[in-house]
Subunit: 338 residues, 4 copies
């Protein structure tokens, strides 16, 4: 931690800070410039957590030196992690495709989709049974019945399953049915939910919040890992910006940024990011080229009839063609696929 | 709802849409331009909710005509609402000041603060017992013990109390201790929590999400009201933008925008919005001038020692002076205060 | 300047940096932490400007300690500046209202508006003769003819005049007609134009760029002042965010932020910020309450007929009523007005 | 154009609008819903340009149906354009790499870089002679001398050259030296400069403004094409968002969006977008996979010594390796390269 003092600070102000630091058993290093005095703090800075040095007299600002996330930080765990979900490995050397409808609507819809996406190359089935919708008057999901459909379809098609949960109650039910839990963008900082999912130990995919920085995202992942659950995968799904040509702005630079900052695998969801079916294919290729460990893609037997997010869903034919086109990109990236 | 067709659309494409509309018992109005065909839909558009017309062949885009929020919409409830919390009225003609520490730290801290803010002019006591913190290693709150301290201090100082809840579990406990519930920015779209707070009937203050549009915010409020709880107050607390000179960017234009779109009262929180103590006073005055029904201000007996958000907290002296300075602004706005 | 080294850096990496620093005649202060080494640089850091230390081996990042703007920086000029435009003073103790049409359309339109806004309380006449329009097919302004109309109207109504220029060519013409030059948001970082306006010495109002941070804005002002023209006024006019309920998001917190960082006066333009006539009055009051030195307001004899930005323009009656309502706010802020 | 009326509008209000429309020789189509009345306007809407219908009594809002850019619009020019710069073709079937230093610093630096990037696979040489810098105290460029160095190096290495201009004056000089003109992000809406570059007929690369929407960007391109210069290439270089892990946020979804909306070629600049050397390679691959027609990459003989943007520059070795790695991505995209 570095403390930058205001110009014209008094000797007394500086001494006061130095005393605060040393009283906690830490060491203060003074750099006296022509205009500005800087104090470097050496030692375990958590001891200063509640000192609010930044409002002590004469202090201009504080610059943190180390990140607050530790368990998810690549600096302390340089090797990339592989997360296993049943027989599926997410991480270096593999390309994991999670595909399925935005919302589970019926047993047939899920079963039919599971068979189609398995055949095309997906290794996991996605589907929403608890839907966080902007308006209370939109379709909210089939809940436990939907989870049963997912389980049946996953078993029939030999696909691992992933479902979003939006509350602790839903989590308690979902762990009985699905292989992996998704925390959606709106709940990325629902810390109570993160702690609970951390206690279950089940593999979890944590989507980036609409306006979450990479640092906040990794701190949210830290909540899960700190409870003892290291099976965390991150999912970039677009951030909120001024641009409205796409629903959100897919931040593909987050992929190499995450690869530099954390050892956790990274999945990209181009369907939710863009909200437009025609943009899913080019951005899927781009995501693999940027280094993603997998993709989450919306597929629906009849996008025109979907109860949720139809406009961004691929048909079975679209999805099969997409997988064929992704094949050489996976090979270039040195990733096993299909 | 208006459907804008692509240039060069075929007669068959248009007929297909018209049939879809009429098959639901609605009426289609055609406007045939030189370049573009437009179809207006007349009737109850919820019947078309799952038709996904935007991906039917030949469709360029859909333009919604009416807002999806109804109960919170000023168009259907033109009179401004007043929400009562015990003997406190929030709404037209009053200026409600909610003040207190970011986090409840001890019985003494809360009691002392309650007495000081009451004396200066606050009518409600704020304090966090469940703290949503970016890092899992930061202070997370005293929970039920903190709620008891709030209750004791509120009763002693004759102040109504407000506390944030971050889970359904916390909500169930908090309703036993406090007069008003706060839903924080990170939980604005925690729809399960919104529904539960809607069922309780307790007055609730809904903070704006960091990247929530006014429309999404009013839809979130609609979740609460749709469960039968009309006692909702909105709180503008800054949005996330590229600017980092303040912690968030306080969007004071949201105050007149909300006054035009909804009948619910609006509170402004300049402490969290800016994160800087020196900016609280000018923006408090500005909020009243812009039409706010009240303010939420952080006050701490010793900001230098605060366990959370010390740098943005006012001392008792600061707060007393602020209230004195706000007095003429309240009068100008025609609002009762102190 | 502070240099933060990566964890596990070698002794050689650190020595290399220290040599670079000392070879320029500067001093390096080392703080050796348990995890991280920090190097403080003491002396004139411009000597290191092109050293690109941040990509030297072992460097994690660089933290600048002092701002790059000097002449506009309050740290070095603690007293607030007053800028004079003829008999008008912009700065502490006064409230300057600049009013007039978005675009100059005819001699009559400008003359009529000048008389009306003078009567209501404005001291300066605004009007656009060079209009930067998003589409090349929109009305682009009357250019020199428009400037002549402004000059005539300003003289007749005893108002000082301000006009935007969008090129060096326009600047050369405008200085012959108007009392103050406006640099618009789109040209805030048109550095060639800033340098030229700096050479003229004419009073200039620099609007904030749509996505400019306060630091970038003050650096842009520094371009003008560095050329010898200290007569600079800043104008907050809304920034671009995700929110679309207003055209831009008026950042009123920028007012106290600027008051803390610079000695230059600050004007607020609620007309362009919101794009909606009904929001101009509440945000004008709020701007004064937040500490603004003046307002820029669009007024048009017939907003329904305006060639540009009619929807945000006030009628003469609206404007007169607004000025009446602003009176007590000016008094509260200790500012002379009318 | 569609006009949406407020609920409870009077018959008179509607008649007034219909008369306005018909008085201009246009046709009005009425859709009378249960809650809302909608008026569709058929005919040449430019006749209504200055009518400001949105503030007529009873009007809620206006929805434009067609884009304001015409010459750059794919709807009217469905075939993708190829722009030729000497013997270089930018467009379908080719991958154009523009490489070179951020700033031209010396004859040797440019010559050496030109030889290296040519050998590795670039077909164009980039280099800045006029540098728009945030601070007036940063290096501003060698100007005409720098252009001469570019010309010499381009001829010696058989590379076409591209240079940014920041004013009409610089443009007049630059056209004598370089093969293609760059308009930088800060000048994307410097409309006077756009018009002038439109008159020259020289090939021009228009970078996206920091906070420009795709629509504003295409309108800016329209300014150039409307003056008779159809040789326009667009360059995505990152937009400004809340995320600070990269200098800007590279919006790769803009590539497929542009491919859907315009016939102009699209280049991606990952160097300026990220500001970090290590992220250039993964995002270059991703850009090609997303459909880009080329890349602009910063290369410097000694990034540690660069006068501008060293941290994001590749060394010659880095660049050669990058080109080797891009080869299979170009082939997959069906693009000729090297």
């Amino acid at each position: 931690m570095i403390i930058i003092m205001k110009p014209g600070v008094t000797r007394g102000n500086v001494d006061h800070i130095v005393e605060m630091i040393e009283s906690k058993g830490l060491t203060a290093h003074l750099s006296q410039g022509s205009q500005v005095t800087i104090i470097g703090v050496v030692g375990d800075k958590t001891k200063l957590a509640h000192s609010n040095i930044e409002i002590a007299p004469g202090v201009d600002r504080i610059v943190p030196v180390t990140e607050s996330y530790k368990l998810t930080n690549k600096k302390f765990h340089p090797e990339d992690s592989t997360i296993t979900v049943g027989n599926v490995s997410i991480g270096p050397g593999t390309l994991t495709i999670m595909a399925g409808p935005c919302a589970v609507e019926s047993a047939d819809q899920v079963m039919e989709t599971a068979m189609a996406v398995k055949k095309a190359g997906a290794s996991m089935l996605r589907g929403g049974a608890y839907k966080p919708r902007t308006s209370p008057y939109s379709f909210q999901g089939l809940e436990e019945t939907g989870l049963q459909y997912m389980k049946d379809a996953g078993e029939a098609a030999d696909l691992r399953t992933i479902c979003e949960v939006t509350s602790i109650h839903a989590l308690e039910i979902a762990v009985k049915y699905v292989d992996m839990i998704q925390i959606g963008a709106r709940n990325m900082q629902n810390f109570e939910l993160l702690k609970e999912v951390g206690k279950t130990g089940i593999p979890v995919m944590l989507k980036r919040g609409l306006s979450a920085t990479v640092d906040e995202w990794l701190n949210a992942a830290e909540y899960i890992v700190a409870e003892g659950n290291a099976n965390v995968v991150l999912c970039e799904r677009g951030i909120r910006t001024f641009e409205k040509a796409t629903r959100n702005t897919l931040d593909l630079s987050a992929v190499p940024v995450l690869k530099a900052k954390t050892h956790l695998p990274v999945i990209v969801d181009p369907s939710h990011a863009t909200g437009v079916r025609a943009y899913v294919a080019p951005l899927s290729k781009a995501a693999i080229a940027a280094g993603a460990d997998g993709l989450m893609i919306e597929v629906h037997p009849c996008p025109e009839c979907a109860l949720s997010d139809g406009p961004q869903s691929l048909t079975f034919e679209d999805f099969e063609q997409l997988c064929d086109n992704l094949d050489p990109y996976a090979k270039l990236a040195g990733r096993m696929f299909r």
